[in-house]
């Protein structure tokens, strides 16, 4: 591998690792808030236990999320010093404000976990509200930098130098609004489906007393409602993001859809392989006019194709597959969660049948894959640029050696931590089964 590819792999794998924990951290704190609120209104203690056990999950995840976030934050200076040099001049604000959100999250989380029994129930809910707010705000602010990389604004280039910097205009770049909500909605959605998986698995394994069954059903139901709502929301924010690409980053949309010729009545190609020789997606399912309709609101709308750009400015064409996987999983999860909710509303009293629980179990894994492919698409689809039309990745990457050694070191670390964190989670929840929660008066 050349140095640029090594730098990309090192930073990319660190980010891919971190976002698993970050996404679940953002999503779970939101779900804890919901559980606390439901508990406030229903006075049902099961929701307090849900909040308590999810909080333990968050505490374990944060053991990895916080240092891996530190890795990502520091490593971007190490692997892409050329990029960070521009960041410091144009888009340093969201990073700075993110630290603020990070502080709010860390302080209130400790307060929520370790001072819960010394707080009034209102203060406790306020604390967990700020935890969720801080986590979500961190996600929004980091996405702000990512959106700026796609639609850089707030500066001019005079004789090759950055000039006339307007920091707030950089923050309010055009891609910000749609990418930020898409990231937040998909983080909530991914987490909800991971929780659905756990709940469905527990119910499926059986061997539960009626109290436990009722507890897991409540957990599953709350997650299904959140999952269904956020997956529909994610589809809508995803649609807005695609329209945003059409308006501001057309080359990325063209690569995502494998569209070569600029045309009205552009077809939507599902799966298949974009082939520059054939000038089309080979082996895909084509829906005539659909892409024009999605991007412009009319089948007559013109969508720009890859051939309008220099070939050296094309993203790698396999992003079409990443894009399809992301959209496919999103669609599937809407179907599954809505289906499960419909079943519940039709056969109110009946428990979920085995086949339905079996269908729910893999949803969490799918959601994580969808989230990862979405991020891979967002970052690889921007290539060969780090900052769109301004800085090439090859110019941003570090020139220093030793990257291979560092890459091996960190990949081993990530594999190790994934395995151990999973074991620790399993161990903890086995050692502290639900039955224990009913024996003591919960302190949370």
């Amino acid at each position: 591998m050349d140095n640029v590819l090594l730098a990309r792999t090192l930073f990319g794998s660190s980010l891919a690792f971190h976002i698993i924990f970050a996404t679940l951290g953002v999503g779970l704190t939101f779900m804890i808030l919901i559980a606390e609120l439901v508990r406030l209104f229903t006075k049902d203690n099961d929701y307090a236990i849900l909040a308590k056990r999810w909080t333990k999950g968050v505490a374990i995840l944060l053991g990895v999320a916080i240092p891996s976030g530190t890795i990502v934050g520091v490593m971007i200076s190490l692997t892409f010093p050329g990029f960070i040099e521009v960041v410091g001049q144009v888009i340093a604000l969201p990073f700075a404000i993110e630290i603020f959100a990070f502080f709010v999250e860390a302080l209130f989380l400790s307060i929520y976990i370790y001072a819960a029994n010394r707080l009034s129930s209102t203060m406790r809910i306020i604390s967990v509200f700020f935890v969720a707010l801080g986590a979500t705000a961190s996600a929004v602010l980091i996405t702000n930098v990512q959106s700026w990389m796609n639609t850089p604004t707030g500066f001019e280039v005079v004789e090759g130098q950055i000039a006339n910097v307007q920091p707030w205009q950089a923050v309010l770049n055009p891609a910000f609004s749609y990418t930020a909500v898409h990231v937040v909605s998909s983080a909530y959605m991914t987490t909800a489906f991971v929780v659905i998986s756990v709940g469905a698995y527990r119910l499926l394994r059986g061997n539960l007393n009626p109290k436990e069954v009722s507890y897991y059903r409540k957990g599953l139901m709350i997650a299904l409602v959140i999952g269904a709502a956020t997956s529909i929301w994610t589809a809508s924010t995803g649609h807005k993001a695609a329209v945003g690409l059409h308006n501001y980053v057309p080359v990325k949309l063209a690569a995502a859809e494998g569209l070569f010729e600029t045309q009205s009545n552009a077809p939507l190609a599902i799966m298949g392989t974009p082939d520059p020789e054939a000038n089309r997606v080979v082996g895909g399912l084509e829906v005539p006019g659909m892409l024009s309709w999605l991007a412009t609101g009319s089948t007559e709308g013109v969508v720009i194709g890859l051939n309008d750009f220099q070939q050296e400015d094309w993203p790698p064409l396999f992003v079409h597959t990443l894009f399809n996987v992301m959209v496919g999983i999103g669609t599937l999860l809407i179907g599954v969660s809505i289906g499960a909710l419909l079943w519940w509303s039709i056969f109110r009293k009946k428990p979920y049948p085995t086949w339905l629980l079996l269908a729910l179990v893999p949803c969490g894994a799918f959601a994580l894959i969808g989230m990862e492919t979405g991020w891979f698409f967002a970052c690889i689809g921007r290539q060969p640029w780090t900052i769109m039309n301004f800085q090439r990745t090859a110019d941003a990457a570090t020139a220093s050696g030793n990257l291979g050694f560092i890459l091996v070191l960190f990949i081993s670390l990530y594999i190790l931590l994934l395995v151990i964190t999973a074991l620790v989670m399993r161990f903890y929840f086995q050692r502290n089964p639900l039955v224990n929660e009913y024996q003591v008066t919960p302190s949370i």
């Binding site: 374990i60 240092p67 934050g73 410091g88 993110e98 910097v165």
Partner: protein
Amino acid sequence: MHEAYVAISIIWLFLFIYAIGGAIDFGAGFWAMYYYERKGTTAANFANLYLSPSWEVTNVFLVLFVVALAGFFPGAAFALGSLMIVPVSLVLFLLTIRSAFMVYSYTVQKYTKVLRYISGITGLLIPALMLTVLPIIIGGFIEVVGDRHYILFNKVLTSPTVYAHIGFGLASQLFLSSLFLSDYAREANSNETYEEYRKNAIIFGPIMLSFAVAATLTLIPEAVWMVENMAREWELFALSMFAFSIGYSALWWPSKKVRIGQPRIAVILIVLQYAIASFAYGWAHMPYIVYPELTIFDGLTNFAMYQSLLWGYIVMMAILIPLFIWFWRLFLKDKRYLTSEK
């Protein structure tokens, strides 16, 4: 005052806060390991009582420092990022193991011992490794070939001053954390733990000071300009030495609450000692960030960004300070919390 000086002062402040907070954090992690399963003492419990709610917040200060440095001095982020990739990667690696295993050790009681050993030892190495950056960036360890910079590892690994800095890092964290935890134990009225940490502080105070002197003296062959600049600031260093002497002696002052010593006064004066000494060190460092390549003036961001960041940090800190005070009351003063794990 030139903007570069305002910006570098803010960086110094953030770094100083993290240096103190990090030293106490990693030191406490070490003591939690050292006293684990030791009969007749609750010293390990106190270390954990402090660590569990605070480690995340301490970690944010590290990120705050890095982000502020990259924002105010993008040129420095570029130079340091290229140059420091190996040492900084190692720090990140250790930091991740340390934090993750510390959380695991709280979660999985069955394996607490081994998990706590891993996190305690990796934590101990972090400040030591961080301190090696100081001699590297002030010269003698960097070779420039064309426009590429290289760290001369052969020189780093055989240099006495690097080892003196490592020793200073180790001794500082053990000294500061013992001192802090002795005061923490006093706050909780745990006399026996207070005595234990007071004893540690008494041992590590002079060791820390000897390493500080050794680190400076061994710098002479590597970066004589720095030592000359430091000599120019001798009043400040003398003042810091004075703060140390009084602070250290406070461990023997009479007290109504404990057998002997005033740990709160000791903590305040020793933190003051570090503040003065690190400020003097930083002042002697000026105007270089990386000697002799990069000054604070070359590295500074543009004026518009400088202003937005400055105001951003001022507003942010104004909002956060009451929150920090509340946090302090909940976990460092509230008797209900302090006595919960005795």
